[in-house]
Point group: C2
């Protein structure tokens, strides 16, 4: 049954529209310059791309949530293999790896006194568990993680710590690093101080009753405690309650479990190039998602964008370089797929790498980190992106999530940066669903990736080595 | 403990700012005309009202959800009595009544096949229950309630009916009547046809994973079946799944219970008028809320608005007519408070009645249903409201929720209609929380109610009798 439902059926070759004659020059490079062809492919994508949408719709509908290491993520890999093969890509395969898997249990919170009422909570990744009946303790609130760090242990021992640090939206998403500390480090700090549990204001920017989960990792030697995130309306409610002159007691039920070692994996597909010595252009996304939503903007859309762009290059003729698509597994829970790729493929001849993992809204900035001698390629890409409303950004800083370890090792990296203004309204929350994806903006993404790939896969010369960081 | 936390503390007389001298003419009517005074009080409210906010904040924070007939609604009544007394109103009291109470249980839904994944569901009011382990059945979808009505019983017998009728937002909220049929009548229609259960697309206009509950009443002789609402993203997901060529099976767990007869009640407060024979101006809202949110826009804000406006009239001097504030109980589950009021008070001398129960966004239209001889009062109110951006609407149609039965009996009625464009984003959902209330728009409401009351409570003459409907 499963096999018949994978993307194989959805993307069977028969369902692909025949290419119009104008898209099939017998010898692409002969008829038009690289730049002219990139412009044409870009504009076709902008006008009529449906593949990125169909992949996003198919993966979120036919699989839905796909937590790393679970049976749902395995179904997603089968769906991905079926889809990528049906689309005509080569060398479609899975590279598996083992990982420790944590799964969500029951999750409830309520104010017991002075104002009894329920609160909406979700467990953070790797949270410890309460007993099935929960724990009840006094709540002590902190406006920042620094304020928590500053108090003596006696102020929080045996209590439920609450950190209400409020994240602000930014176009480049740069607030995530700073405000995300409450999630990434707050649980370990609270545990070290002897707290019974910690709840944080969701690392998010919306005002809906949808809490934002996300991974946190216990610092060395720290005992796991229950660690949750309240939705933002609930967090502000708790702040109001704490402002009244009464002690506040909360009951918290979080029963996640570590279920041991399971398999995850990265899904590969390729467009073989004309010259194996010219290197590989890696375009990436991640296939896994958090379990609360269907992972539409994080990151089904990214998989749709990179595959749709690569598919357009493939249909336009054999590129100089091999394009390698990787839909990574187990990104959300610790970049396990990225590290597995690094372990196996750091010796591959990567000409350039890029990843789409910041939603489905329009790209606004083009960053790169290549050898200065590759500046003509950077300028060409910039000129192709400008008509899409994309500005030229850094030429010394570019990275990505799964490709982060590889990028840090010095591989030439390109980043097409998406608008993050509303990304953290949805990120890791139940609200990350297909209805949040805008087709017009998605097409702008495919157009930008197609133009970038048309240059990166075909322009002669080297993109590396990348100069060492200052 | 409870008593010390009620609004008595929050609204102790000491916390009320002293009135500026300009607000305290020794004899209100002597120093200025009714119109001039109404303008002044209106503008003061628009500029500086805090009471409506404080009531909304206090009720939603210190009580939170307050389902009709529950202990939480009883706490809300105690809070209301404490608050209204502390604010200096007269004749503050509760009139209790008994009612049958239904409470929510567990609620979960999942697609079992072909694409296993969870869906977000909530039970509709008076829903029947599944076994604790749920029921699993094939889903059959209908785009409208009329399409469900049209099929033979055999098409749905033993199945889970799904109605996906999509509500559109309107400023006047008029879509609720038509689209709300799926909730109000769908369950009885499905049960009559032998369906195992029904789930509907939430009667709402948002795109968040927050389902909208609401009351439905089983038609005479109909067997209760489990009846739920999916959030709108989940509803559209189910529609996408149903469009694939595979049978769809759902597991549904809804375990609400009827817990028998409990007490609810209406909370009264008054501003006694100078002339008992001049009648009573009733201003209303409802104190109960659905249990999923904290009932901020439905209807804590309404209670804040009418009390704040009455409080401004009271502070400006004794009005001609008595102003009676009623914070009704058990509105959401069947207007039980309104019917109890009708039973006890239909013989009271009501000069005019009005209710605020459509959120906290700005008022955009003024409707009334008075005797044509009262047209000067209507025109005066309209002139006072125009500067607030409020247009003059109907002079033959006006009603309200709790006051609906009384209005239908022929009592002169005024309606200050709020903008409903985003009301059904929040209505009856977990997202009905304080953060959705905008202080500037709330003040516009208080200003409009204050101006209206300044005329309705002081302008000589009769507002009734209301002509019989055509």
């Amino acid at each position: 049954m499963l096999r018949s439902l994978t993307g194989a059926a959805m993307f069977a070759a028969a369902s692909l529209p025949a290419l119009p004659a104008s898209s099939q020059p017998a010898s692409p490079a002969a008829a038009e310059s690289i730049h002219e062809r990139a412009e044409r492919l870009r504009d076709e994508a902008l006008g009529n791309d449906t593949l990125a949408w169909d992949i996003t719709e198919g993966l979120t509908t036919e699989i839905g949530p796909r937590l790393a290491g679970t049976e749902a993520e395995a179904r997603a890999r089968a769906w991905a293999v079926g889809s990528l093969r049906a689309l005509g890509f080569s060398n479609v395969r899975i590279e598996t790896f083992d990982m420790a898997v944590w799964v969500r249990g029951e999750e409830r919170a309520e104010i017991v006194s002075p104002f009894p009422q329920p609160l909406v909570v979700t467990a953070l990744g790797n949270s410890g568990a309460t007993p099935a009946s929960g724990i009840t303790a006094e709540v002590v609130g902190f406006e920042t993680i620094e304020a928590l760090e500053a108090v003596p242990d006696s102020a929080v021992r045996g209590k439920i710590v609450f950190v209400s640090h409020a994240m602000a939206p930014t176009q480049d998403g740069s607030g995530y690093g700073y405000f995300g500390r409450a999630r990434r480090e707050g649980p370990s700090i609270a545990s070290r101080k002897g707290a019974a549990a910690i709840v944080i204001r969701s690392i998010g920017t919306d005002y809906h009753r949808n809490p934002h989960t996300g991974v946190q990792t216990w610092a060395e030697g720290v005992r796991p405690i229950p660690a949750g995130a309240l939705s933002i309306p609930d967090s502000e409610q708790l702040q109001r309650i704490l402002r009244r002159p009464f002690p506040v007691r909360m009951r918290l039920v979080l029963t996640p479990r570590n279920i041991g070692t399971r398999q995850s994996g990265n899904v590969f597909a390729e467009v073989p190039g004309r010259d194996p010595s010219a290197g590989i252009v890696l375009v990436a996304c991640h296939l896994d998602s958090w379990d609360l939503g269907t992972g539409a903007v994080d990151d089904a859309a990214g998989c749709g964008i990179v595959a749709a762009a690569a598919h357009r290059i493939m249909r336009a003729g054999t590129p100089l370089r091999t394009i390698r698509i990787v839909w990574f597994g187990a990104e959300e829970v610790g970049l396990f797929g990225g590290y597995d790729y690094l372990r196996r493929h750091s010796g591959d001849n990567h000409a350039a790498i890029a990843e789409s993992d910041f939603g489905a809204d329009r790209i606004w900035r083009f960053d790169s980190r290549l050898n200065p001698a590759a500046r003509p390629a950077v300028d060409r890409i910039a000129r192709l992106l400008f008509p899409l409303g994309i500005v030229a950004g850094s030429v010394t800083e570019a990275s990505g999530s799964d490709i982060g370890p590889l990028s840090a090792s010095g591989v030439p990296t390109i980043a097409l940066r998406q608008d993050g203004t509303r990304y953290f309204d949805l990120h890791h929350s139940p609200d990350d669903t297909l209805d949040k994806v805008d087709l017009t903006q998605l097409r702008q993404n495919v157009a930008a990736w197609t133009a970038m790939l048309a240059v990166a896969a075909d322009m002669p010369g080297e993109f590396g080595p990348v100069p060492a960081r200052q």
